[in-house]
């Protein structure tokens, strides 16, 4: 027996580009980004919203893409790790993570970058405590977090200096 094709057509803005994709009603955004859009920078770690590896921004709000149904982003703006650097220029968070060696295997790093970018847009001058609590949903198995936090606070300082200049 032929089963009817049960796909939805969704239109959204992804990394600034008007995009359309097909998805099943129960498919999550993380899966669609990776499998339909081939944006494989967003990683799937736990699939339960606990690790933050799938962090993306939906309408500038930091969320886990594994807990957003792809159909929910109809008409919304999505930003992934692929959209963080602009015109080939790394975001200060990305640059500082490299300088501070804030990554080893790198699997958590896309999520960390997206989450840290959201932090600094929300609060350009976070204390270390505020940065750690904001990033508590981004688990890292390799670094022990210290270099990640130093990099984020250093990026914050650079961005404040650039804004003041």
């Amino acid at each position: 027996m032929n089963k009817p094709l049960n796909k939805m057509a969704v239109q959204a803005t992804i990394n600034g580009e008007q995009t359309a994709f097909l998805c099943s009603p129960g498919q999550v955004l993380a899966e669609v980004l990776r499998d339909e859009m081939e944006l494989i920078g967003t990683k799937i770690g736990c699939n339960t919203g606990d690790c933050g590896a799938c962090s993306v921004l939906v309408n500038d709000r930091l969320v886990c893409a594994c807990l957003v149904l792809a159909a929910e982003v109809e008409g919304q703006a999505v930003q992934t790790i692929e959209g963080i650097a602009e015109g080939g220029v790394l975001h200060p968070v990305q640059q500082k993570l490299l300088e501070h060696a804030g990554l080893q295997c790198g699997i958590c790093t896309p999520g960390v970058v997206v989450a840290a970018k959201a932090l600094l847009e929300h609060n350009p001058n976070p204390t270390e405590e505020q940065a750690r609590y904001w990033l508590a949903g981004n688990l890292c198995r390799c670094t022990g977090y210290d270099k990640i936090i130093r990099a984020v606070l250093d990026a914050a300082q650079q961005m404040r200096e650039e804004a003041a200049a």
Partner: protein, 273 residues
């Protein structure tokens, strides 16, 4: 995956129709419990009804009598509302403890309540503030208290075809504040082992004239403990003056030395006035 259909109605009446036409349907707010349940197999809706395009479900309305929080309003939007955190710092603290920044970007107080985990953080804070549930369904609208809404672990009082529309919190009287604290093995990203929500009213002399105490994670549902509230009435309070606010970590270290019944009391002294 069980989900065969996704619909995002724009009105309550449309949503009610989608929940009462015989389809195996579930409402969707933040999805932070539903989607995990679908993956685990504990939830298996065929139709998902997204509530976030219905204005009443995400609106936060503050007037002189009450604060109404749409059941699908995200914790993030509640925490960054201009009035709610100052009216109810305890509820704000409870919502800020749920999950992570990412989870709070989506999760809702209504969803946390309807999911009815015994350890849910928002529920003791809602009970302490005397929150009411605004429910609508095939038989019309009705209200019930939050403490009556949760009937067992993962069981709420909604009947077939009903949905939770909003939480209604009466504005606290002057000299009233709430607080929420929980005990968790880890600092963050954890589930309460014990949770306490308190609302306290003092008179001009620092004497407690009214109190509501609710405990969570220590029983099949969060409980309103009337005896604890009654025991606080008539007690005398003095304001602590701190040179600078304690770090969150320092507060936790100090407060873990005090028994759960006194935990919330000390916390409330630490500057919610």
């Amino acid at each position: 995956m069980s989900i065969q259909e996704f619909v995002a109605p724009h009105s309550l009446s449309e949503a009610k129709g989608l929940l009462s036409d015989g389809a195996i349907a579930s409402v969707l707010a933040g999805g932070t419990d539903l989607l995990v349940g679908v993956r685990l197999g504990t939830r298996s809706p065929e139709r998902v009804v997204d509530l976030k395009q219905i204005p009443e479900l995400t609106a936060i309305h503050v007037d002189s009598e009450s604060v109404q929080i749409g059941a699908a309003a995200s914790a993030f939007s509640i925490l960054h509302n201009s009035d709610v955190p100052s009216c109810f710092p305890g509820l704000a603290e409870a919502l800020d403890l749920i999950g992570s920044t990412q989870i709070q970007g989506r999760c809702s107080a209504g969803g946390n309540l309807c999911n009815a985990s015994p350890a849910a953080d928002s529920i003791p804070a809602l009970i302490a503030n005397g929150a009411q549930c605004l429910i609508t369904g095939p038989a019309g609208d009705h209200q019930m208290s939050v403490e009556d809404f949760v009937v067992g672990p993962s069981k709420n009082a909604l009947k077939e075809g009903e949905l939770l529309v909003a939480l209604i919190l009466p504005r606290p009287s002057p000299q009233t504040a709430d607080a929420y604290l929980r005990l968790t093995p880890r600092t963050e990203m954890d589930i309460a082992v014990a949770g306490v929500g308190v609302s306290l009213t003092l008179d001009g002399n620092g004497t407690c004239t009214a109190a509501r105490v609710s405990i969570g994670a220590v029983a099949p549902t969060a409980l309103l403990v009337e005896a604890a509230g009654a025991a606080l009435v008539g007690t005398q309070w003095r304001r602590l003056r701190l040179k600078q606010p304690l770090l969150r970590q320092e507060r936790r270290h100090v407060l873990f030395r005090i028994s759960v019944a006194q935990l919330n009391i000390a916390h409330m002294l630490l500057g919610y006035w």
